[in-house]
Amino acid sequence: MWKWFHQLASPPHFYRIAPAFSTWLLLPGLALIAYGVYSGLFLAPMDYQQGDAFRIIYIHVPSAYLSLMAYMIVAVAGGIGLIWRMKLAHAVAASAAPLGAWFTFLALATGSIWGRPMWGTWWEWADPRMMSELILLFFYFGYMALRAAIDDTAKADKASALLALVGVVNVIIVHYSVEWWSSLHQGQTIMAEGGPAMDPGMLYPLLANIFGFTLLFGSLLLRRTRTEVLFRERRTRWVKEMILAPEGQS
């Protein structure tokens, strides 16, 4: 088991096995998303309150969930890289951050589109979940800006890992304080409090999309990390040998 872990931590090994894993994740992921989107858009019954507008949750909910999960990955991978000095962990963190930021943006955009018919406006400040999501986007920006500002890769890895770990604690606190603030100012939320009390016809496509998007995220993360690894290791011998190897070798 440790041998596998140690092997995994080796950049050339990861570089070799990543595409296969990425495809294994991608295909089921796309299939699930296809099912989820189709049945969500066409087959699921209409919501009695929101009409057809609610259908955007099939994109909104997975995006929001992934935006949070990606931040956790950034923090955990950064922590692993910081404590166990694993270079690959830092590469994963660096790759996960832009993906997470995009999903956050997607969650905000779909939330805004959803909110337009509900709130009557493109942005309702008082919605706590949207506010938390917006602040999460700022956390991502800070992380990526710090990385970009430090030239030395190893130093940038460590500094941003520390920032992400500090941020993880704060993300939780932000969530609760925004909820409290929203309760003071009596805003409308776009998501009803009851979750699983949904009609199965609505729920299954949603679950399918959540899983599907997660697999898609995993697949994208692997591909991105692979490129990141190649860039970081560009001056090492194994990369040079691989590039110079004759045709026919992967």
């Binding site: 030395d152 890769t153 190893a154 001056r235």
Partner: protein
């Protein structure tokens, strides 16, 4: 002024030190040992990694490989003790320009074990007594460096780490530095010095050359 029984048998050793900065390897497999009464000179041209080696010794930079040991135990297991046994004169003076030498050194006194010599005596030794009430900013670079040397004299520690200590000093200043080092070695202390000039001293000297 190095007191205490531990001082006479102190030993700093390094084995297999390798350091990378980004992708560049600064030095590989450097090993040496310094004992009480000995001087170690790190030689090398500018940019050869002398300062980085010193920083790695004190723990400011992470080594790719290798172990630094103080009195037989790895430094990583006894950071505080090791730091309490050394004083470092770096490139930058490390003092506040707005404060006078006295104010600066009074603050420094709280950071590490202090010897018996008072500020006045140390200032006399360094020939900067008349500069005591002036803010550091109004002193010349050479005078500021002498104040930085006071940090070493005031502290009661066996290991002196000096990174290019002759910077900005005139010939008298350089002779003074060597006198101070000699006195320190005679009392049982040890010194690691990075220099790109020739250093002459009447004491056991080891040289490590970085290319």
């Amino acid at each position: 002024m190095v007191t205490g029984p531990g001082a006479l048998t102190a030993r700093l050793s390094a084995e297999g030190l390798t350091l990378f900065r980004g992708d560049r390897c600064l030095f590989r497999n450097v090993s040496f040992a310094v004992r009480s009464g000995e001087l170690l000179i790190l030689e090398g041209s500018n940019g050869s990694g002398k300062t980085s080696l010193m920083k790695a010794l004190v723990g400011m930079l992470d080594l790719e490989n290798g172990v630094v040991s103080w009195n037989g135990k790895p430094v990583s297991e006894q950071r505080q003790v090791f730091h309490g046994a050394l004083v470092w004169t770096a490139h930058r003076v490390g003092l506040k320009a707005d404060l006078t030498p006295v104010e600066n050194l009074r603050y420094e006194a709280a950071l590490r074990p202090q010897g018996d010599d008072g500020l006045d005596k140390v200032f006399e030794r360094l020939e900067i007594s008349r500069l005591k009430p002036l803010p550091l900013r109004s002193l010349s670079a050479g005078q500021q460096r002498r104040v930085a040397l006071a940090r070493m004299l005031l502290a009661d520690v066996p290991l002196w780490l000096m990174d290019e200590p002759f910077t900005n000093l005139d010939r008298e200043g350089r002779a003074l530095v060597m006198d101070l080092v000699k006195e320190h070695l005679d009392e049982g202390g040890m010194c690691v010095m990075a220099a790109h000039q020739d250093v002459e001293i009447d004491a056991p000297v080891t040289k490590v050359v970085l290319r």
